[in-house]
């Protein structure tokens, strides 16, 4: 029993961590949290089921098309819901515009795909074992994304440019960095990561439109606990969240597990509004 809690908890934690990284990648590029983060995860599952199970694409091709779909939604988010409201960041219109976009995608999926959870195909024709692909795929995806992002940020020129934009937008622009191009790239990258999360976790979470708000919420918990923009914090907090949720699930039952997660989230946030790895308050006057 303990093993299955640890396995499923870690796997779910990896999915939450990936969604948190999706939030972070978008946030770093634009100082904006987008409600489409969870929608991307949901789409990863639904598109995977659509292309591979329903349309019969080979797994590898389907995988690439799903990631491309995620990148496309990332770009649409940037163009439609983020760029037009960046000028007046202090009015927080991005909360509404990204919410609107997320709802449109979610609703479109519900109507055109299905309002019921649909099975996600088994990606590899392996026999079911204890340490099954539905558990190790999210873990693998999470590890690949984290290592990949670290390499990107530390060892490539474009990665340095991302960091520069995240650190100080104005200074980066003054240095002549193509801020808009980098932002769009970041959003596309975030789209790929979000879709990957949903794809890798497809077998656990199924292809279901209502995964969007769940992932939007549970993916944001690690962001807020780990500190905004902090990917390592997000992974640690994501794993803790997954394990906590599965343990609570086992101990007190599924529904009250969500209540427990929510209560912990609120209490921690109220105690440390800037996350456990707090950032300094801005000057207000």
């Amino acid at each position: 029993m303990i093993e299955s809690i640890i396995l499923s908890g870690t796997a779910m934690g990896c999915i939450y961590a990936l969604i948190a990284v999706t939030y972070n990648v978008m946030f770093s590029a634009s100082r904006v949290f987008s409600f489409t983060a969870g929608t991307l995860g949901m789409l990863g599952g639904v598109l995977g089921a659509l292309f591979i199970a329903r349309m019969g694409m080979p797994v590898a091709l389907g995988f690439i098309v799903v990631l491309a779909g995620g990148a496309a939604l990332g770009l649409v988010t940037e163009i439609v819901a983020v760029r037009p409201v960046l000028k007046s960041l202090d009015q927080h219109l991005y909360v509404l515009s990204t919410l609107a976009l997320a709802l449109m995608v979610q609703q479109f999926t519900a109507i055109e795909w299905s309002t019921e959870p649909q099975p996600f195909p088994r990606l590899f024709g392996l026999a079911r074992v204890d340490f099954d692909q539905q558990f190790w795929l999210p873990m693998l995806a999470c590890a690949v994304v984290i290592v990949g992002l670290e390499l990107l940020y530390r060892h490539t020129l474009i990665g340095h440019a991302f960091l520069a934009i995240a650190e100080d937008n104005y200074a980066a622009r003054a240095l002549g960095l193509p801020e808009r191009g980098l932002r769009m790239t970041s959003y596309a990258l975030a789209g790929v990561i979000g879709a990957l999360a949903g794809f890798a976790g497809g077998e656990m979470m199924l292809a279901f439109f209502a995964n969007a708000p769940l992932l939007t919420f549970y993916g944001f918990v690690p962001v807020s606990l780990g500190g905004m923009g902090n990917n390592r914090g997000a992974v640690v907090a994501g794993l803790l969240l997954g394990l906590f949720q599965q343990t609570a699930n086992f101990l007190v039952g599924g529904i009250f597990a969500s209540v427990a997660v929510f209560a912990v989230f609120i209490i921690v946030l109220l105690a440390r509004p800037d996350g456990l790895v707090g950032a300094a308050q801005q000057r207000r006057v």
């Binding site: 409201v85 927080h92 909360v95 509404l96 919410l99 449109m104 009250f256 929510f262 946030l269």
Partner: protein
């Protein structure tokens, strides 16, 4: 003296007449009366299914009216308010059905549900006191998902997926139209109550929290207390709406409370426009009725709402209310001048001046390795203008922020008449009669100039939130007093002609004078001004200086942070020069002007 009295009286009469046309006139009530008349006459035109739609619109509005105070006025992004509808629906149904205790009459069940809703409204809302925008939005979203899950799981009480029957209200409200009139009546009462709040000092304080939080704090508005009571109210009416919803559905399951409903409530407010009651009311009716006109649209309704939200946010952030605001589309008179009437200041500031001084005592504050303020002594005496000058980064604004409670001093203290001011208690400064203005004017752009100035007097009202809600006499007395004082303050700074204009249409210099008028509303003993002359023309600076002198003459101690040497040397009784957080020199303007180091370091020459 006698010769002055007559023109002053006429000026004030002029002031009063211009004040009349602003809020509360018949024009503002008329649309509501028309809607009510249509609502009352509705059973004559439509029947059957349309009756259900109309009842549903009323039920939704009961919830949206309360949520409007949270979202539209206080600007808190509460997207999961369907949770309170769910809660109210289940509380009413379960209590009326007697699942947990002996069955209650439906009206009593509804009242109990309102109490439960108020408590949970507060619980859901409390995070807003500490969390910003997206965080709060996410917590309400999380709450909404959880309430539905609990409703599913708690089978012994809620019936789980099978559900429970809704309450049945006895005659005369049992029939379809009877129930419709019951809902319509509650909707009308909610409209009336929230419109009362909107037009009260509480409504203005909420918009100040939304658009100019630091100005709200400086005016003494206690955000936690105000938001808490708004969340209580909003939760209560949402739960009442839930009880009505359950009765309308006659049977409820968790499926009935989808997140789509939350979206409808939220978007109705934004489509309607912020700080408006009429706009969100029209928005609610529109969103309830719209999908019914074309059957295929019903499935797509949430998609359309979301698309509409996107369009509204990107194209017309002001919503319907702004489209309907014809008055503020008339061009303003160009080339208008600000002509303060310093004579009126004495009448406005009729409270007794402070007996002692506001003193800084060896004040010290560092940010990391930077000593922003380093052992500063300063004394602001009643009736005097104290100038604080120095190069950029010398600690002037930081000093002001320590006095008004944005930073806690690490060493030393700020004393008022000898007693140390509590550090970081920002909104308490107003209660100690310390007012301030800001380097960048902090104004509620969507409110009128008059309303902006009235915000400054919020703490002088005596009526409670409930009295304003029910429009009791003290509410009216407060409003009349605040309006009259605000018109006087506006006349004193020379902006009374702009009283009904939206503040965001004004020029920069005018905003600076509005801030002064708002600060004067406190009847302050001490007034802290952060670069009031920045961006003003030479002529306006002269007018500002006569105004400031009049304020000092009325007994107010003025701290003037400025860069304009002329203004400082013309009107200050005492000047302190800062450099790198330390006092470089202090003395009378004449002494400072001849101080060698000051001339070298700062004045040049």
């Amino acid at each position: 003296m006698d010769t002055q009295a007559t023109p002053e009286a006429t000026e004030l009469r002029a002031v009063r007449t211009t004040g009349q046309g602003t809020p509360g006139a018949l024009g503002a009530v008329l649309p509501f009366l028309v809607l009510l008349a249509v609502g009352v006459a509705f059973p004559l035109f439509g029947g059957g299914y349309w009756g259900v739609i109309a009842t549903r619109a009323c039920v939704y509005w009961v919830l949206v009216s309360g949520l409007n105070l949270v979202v539209g006025f206080a600007g808190q992004i509460a997207i999961g308010w369907v949770a309170l509808l769910t809660l109210g629906a289940y509380a009413t149904s379960v209590l009326a059905a007697g699942n947990v205790m002996p069955a209650l009459p439906p009206y009593l069940a509804l009242v109990c549900a309102a109490l439960v809703g108020a408590v949970f409204g507060l619980i859901v809302g409390l995070p807003a006191l500490r969390l910003r925008t997206f965080y709060f939005a996410i917590t309400t979203l999380g709450f909404a998902t959880i309430v539905t899950q609990v409703a599913l799981a708690w089978q012994s009480v809620t019936g789980g997926g099978i559900g429970v029957p809704g309450p049945v209200f006895p005659e005369p409200f049992a029939s379809q139209w009877g129930f419709y009139y019951f809902c319509l009546g509650l909707a009308a009462v909610c409209t009336w109550m929230t419109a009362n709040i909107a037009a009260s000092r509480f409504g203005r304080a909420l918009t100040a929290i939304r658009d100019a939080e630091v100005a709200a704090e400086a005016s003494g508005i206690a955000k936690p207390a105000l938001l808490a009571i708004v969340f209580l109210f909003s939760g209560a009416v949402a739960a009442v709406a839930g009880g009505l919803f359950a009765a309308l559905q006659s049977y409820i399951t968790p499926d009935a409370f989808t997140f789509d409903l939350s979206v409808l409530f939220f978007i109705a407010i934004l489509i309607g426009g912020r700080s408006s009651v009429l706009g969100p009311l029209l928005g609610t009716i529109l969103l309830t009725v719209l999908p019914e006109f074309a059957a295929p649209l019903v499935a797509w309704s949430t998609f359309l709402y979301a698309a509409l939200l996107l369009v509204i946010v990107l194209a017309i952030p002001g919503g319907i209310a702004e489209l309907l605001d014809f008055r503020n589309r008339r061009p303003l008179e160009s080339g208008r001048a600000i002509v303060p009437q310093p004579r009126l200041v004495a009448r406005l500031l009729d409270a007794a001046p402070a007996t002692g001084a506001l003193t800084l005592d060896q004040l010290g504050l560092s940010f990391g390795g930077v000593r922003a303020i380093d052992g500063l002594d300063l004394e602001i005496r009643p009736g005097q203008v104290h100038g604080l000058i120095g190069p950029n980064g010398s600690g002037k604004t930081t000093t002001l922020n320590v006095i008004s409670g944005y930073y806690a001093p690490q060493r030393g203290a700020v004393r008022l008449e000898g007693a140390a001011l509590p550090p970081l208690a920002r909104h308490l400064r107003a209660h100690m009669r310390i007012a301030r203005t800001f380097q960048t004017p902090r104004i509620v752009g969507s409110a009128s100039v008059l309303q902006n100035v009235m915000i400054g007097g919020t703490i002088h009202g005596h009526g409670t939130f409930v009295e304003s809600l029910l429009s009791l006499p003290r509410h009216w007395r407060d409003e009349a007093m605040l309006r009259e004082t605000a018109m006087l303050a506006l006349a004193a700074v020379g902006l009374e002609r702009l009283a009904p204009v939206r503040a965001d249409r004004l020029q920069h210099a005018e905003l600076r004078f509005i801030e002064i008028a708002r600060a004067l509303m406190l009847r302050p003993a001490f007034l802290l001004l952060d670069e009031p002359a920045a961006g003003l023309s030479a002529e306006e600076i002269v007018r500002l200086s006569t105004l400031l002198l009049a304020i000092a003459r009325a007994g107010v101690g003025v701290l003037l942070v400025e860069h304009h040497p002329d203004l400082i040397f013309d009107i200050c009784h005492h000047v302190t020069v800062l450099n790198l957080g330390r006092k470089l020199a202090a003395g009378t303007p004449a002494e400072i002007r001849s101080h060698r180091e000051v001339v070298n370091a700062y004045l040049g020459g």
